[in-house]
Amino acid sequence: MGFGKDFWWSPFLDFDSFVSGWVWGDHGSKTGPDRRPSEGKTIDRDRTEYGRSGLGPVRSGPIRQDFGKFFRFFGKQLGVIAFHSTKSILSNIKVRHNLYIFTLIFLLLKVNMSIWLIRSRRNCGNLLKTLICNSATGNGRYEYSISCNPSASLFMARRYKSMEAEKELFSSKDDGKTSFEENHVHRLEYPGGKIAFTSEMNFLPGSSEERVKCYRLLDQDGYPILSNMPEHVGKELALKIYVNMVTLQTMDTLFYEAQRQGRFSFYMSSFGEEAINIASAASLSPDDHILAQYREQGVLLWRGFTLQEFANHFMGNKIGHGKGRNMPIHYGSKKLKYFTISAPLATQLPQAVGVAYSLKNDKKDACVVTYFGEGSTSEGDFHASMNFSAVLDAPIVFICRNNGWAISTPVTDQFRGDGIVVKGQAYGIQSIRVDGNDVLAVYNAVRSAREIAIKEQRPILIEAMTYRVGHHSTSDDSTKYRTKDEINHWRTVHSPITRFRKWIERNGWWTQNEDSELHIDVHKQVKNAIDEAEREEKPALKDMFTDVYEELPSNLIEQERSLREMIHRHPKEFPTNVPL
């Protein structure tokens, strides 16, 4: 350290004061040798409504400038010392007189140093500096002002916690920083933490030149990219994943067709997103809670919802779990910890954080996983939930299916910036971008995210890049806003199922024969389920009135009674397929 203890003049001054003031003090700006801290300017920061703005030397400066400044300022004083010393020696004045002169000069120097300290708004870590700063700067709590507010109280500097931290900063020499220059980076303790300053005006770019890279383990043709692949997906798991993906695709195809045939009212397929659905579900435990959006029937399928249960739900029959109350796609299962789908977009996000908060208190080895599309990140609820989950330290994994389209709105019209993954950092959330059509990458990423979320009790954001091959729903014809070529390209070249199938076939775990058999078998299962569900009776009349409240309220009992009376009096008006 240059101007450390060994500097020859330092014993003449208050050691602490000068060393710390000098080393961590204000030594002029980077922009010019002569630049002093702005004199006469009061910054509004000195309105200490927080009472916590630290004192603060605010700029760093190279040694060169320090030397120059020092000598420029004190050159006069040094000259005086030199002159008098020489004079006394030459004129042979007694030592005693010399001592007087020297004391005078010493005092002069001290006063000068003090004035210099004041003028450079130096922070003072001890009483002397406090005195100086307080008397000069009013209440000694801000860095720029030399407007003298002489109404300082001497010991005000002691009152605020951040000033103690500031003192520690100055007195501590083990910053971990070695270079002199680094020791000159000044920080201010704002509410919320220390922030370093710069004189370079720099607007952070709206998005970085290079987009965040996508995590992927299998390439487009299903070849492993790394030579040493993580060994998490063995044969049994891989086959289970594949079978489920094929089941999901078949189920989607047949249910979609059934809706077009008029057998039920509405359906949404997840074509192209099978890997996200199944692979992510495969990496979770049955204790984890799921709050999905509406294109995650694969997750429910993996967890144990049977094809028959799906069909019952879509047909709205009496054995369906929903008692015929919910329109299709609004399935749910308390047993499988999959919350009933809620239609308004992004409502599940803050609710998921709430479930995670509740789970956190239970201290289980479980987390909450919530799915949403890139379009719903425009909703206010997305912002609230991300912010909140970080503030509450909720064990939650946010999985965004960025499939390029929100009905007819492409991502370029949905938001600017580099997608969803960069938004996580703004909220203080660890995030990753993943190739959503790569089963192994999704599996790995979600698995790790889950571990972090549970162990460290914090939220994680995963952006899974994929493409919505199907229409938004049965009410949509996507060829109206995108080309058939684009759809076909993603459906064939980037199909997650094909890719994974190639990998398992090359591993010797699967054959073409088995594949065709599987397709035929699953097709039959789904078809049977639909037919059977259709044959079932619709829910009974009483199911219209129950579950509005925990207990049937009197007005509904009344309504049911009067309805039954009406049916009794006019049986022909009542539909025949509704059991009483």
């Binding site: 008692k323 409502t347 609710q351």
Partner: protein, 368 residues
């Protein structure tokens, strides 16, 4: 010498400190305790949180600030930040989080700084909290309480003065409660927290500071009022006046004025907007044969409209005069004090309406 001075000073202070103690002792001896609505709500929250570890409070300023209206005073110190959660400014956020945590079994008490701000979270209240039990076929129930001040305060303008009783009262799946006195506040809040269904608890800012006498029974920690039962605050035989929240106080004062004119008014404190206690209202109308409904909210599709329809449906033959509804003016609440006063029902309005219904004065239609 210093000691003497010190003693004297302390002596003076002691006397001053003694005074409140003396006066409360006087209260004990006479038997009627008084409690402000604020303290009633605070004590109810305190007792319910002590009784059930799943109950927690969440909202803006509920913790460190002791509550925007000091309703949650002292709770943070007693129960810690896990159970008294200060939130960032996002009604949609914390209402959603409350609903989510209720899905999982906690019992949140979500505070809105006023119910005007609940509109930012209304999707969670209605589409999620109210409908989840039904949509999930009974699998997911939402034992949540949304509470906060509702309706006009004093000089707070249009966006801080709306009454949401009618909005929430129209949604099946919700229960909507409107306490008036401290006893109402205590009993209904406890009932709301214990209820397995979502409850919207509409308080009133101006009532927070008002003191009401409270019985020992109401101070007991297991005290609970039934949801869906109105209270007849004052018996009468000539006219029924229904009111809720602050308007109950006005109606009671109007009843005293009407008494001098020989009109005996029966005042019904609704206590619960959903479920509405139609039985009590109808029984009262059948006794008195005349009805005036009072509310602070906007007149169209208001609480009075529903009560009127219910009475016309069930007790038409018993009515001796058309039902009169008194409601707030059909304008966004003005700020200027004189205009604000004219935008909300005052005691004189209730008295005049009662007289019109009793045909003691010319009906409004004739004056038009």
């Amino acid at each position: 010498m210093l000691g003497v001075i010190r003693q004297k000073v302390i002596g003076a202070k002691d006397v001053m400190r003694l005074r409140p103690v003396v006066s409360s002792m006087r209260h004990y001896s006479s038997g009627t305790k008084e409690m402000t609505v604020r303290d009633a709500l605070n004590s109810a929250l305190d007792e319910e949180m002590a009784a059930d570890p799943n109950v927690f409070v969440m909202g803006e300023e509920v913790g460190e600030y002791q509550g925007a209206y000091k309703i949650t005073k002292g709770l943070l110190d007693k129960y810690g930040p896990e159970r008294v959660v200060d939130t960032p400014i996002t009604e949609a956020g914390f209402a959603g989080i409350g609903v989510g945590s209720a899905y999982h079994g906690l019992k949140p008490v979500i505070e809105f700084m006023t119910f005007n701000f609940s509109m930012q979270a209304i999707d969670h209240i209605i589409n999620s909290a109210a409908k989840s039990n039904y949509m999930s076929a009974g699998q997911i129930n939402v034992p949540i309480v949304f509470r906060g001040p509702n309706g006009p305060a004093a000089g707070v303008g249009a966006q801080h003065s709306q009454c949401y009783g009618a909005w929430y009262g129209s949604v099946p799946g919700l229960k909507v409660l409107v306490p008036y006195s401290s006893e109402d506040a205590r009993g209904l809040l406890k009932a709301a927290i214990r209820d397995p269904d979502p409850v919207v608890f509409l308080e009133n800012e101006l009532l927070y500071g008002e003191s009401f006498p409270i019985s020992d029974e109401a101070l007991d920690s297991s005290f609970c009022l039934p949801i869906g039962k109105a209270k007849i605050e004052r018996e009468g035989k000539d006219i029924t006046i229904t009111a809720f929240s602050k308007m109950v106080g006005y109606a009671l004062k109007a009843a005293e004025i009407l008494e001098k004119d020989g009109i005996s008014a029966e005042i019904i404190n609704l206590r619960s907007i959903r479920p509405l206690d139609r039985a009590t209202i109808n029984a009262s109308v059948r006794k008195t044969n005349r009805l005036v409904t009072v509310e602070e909210g906007f007149p169209q599709h208001g609480i009075g409209a529903e009560i009127c329809a219910s009475v016309v449906e069930d007790s038409f033959g018993y009515l001796d005069a058309p039902v009169e509804r008194i409601a707030g003016a059909d304008v966004p609440t003005p700020y200027a004090a004189n205009l604000e006063r004219m935008a909300f029902p005052q005691i004189e309005d209730i008295v005049r309406a009662a007289k019109r219904v009793c045909y003691r004065s010319v009906p409004l239609a004739a004056t038009a």
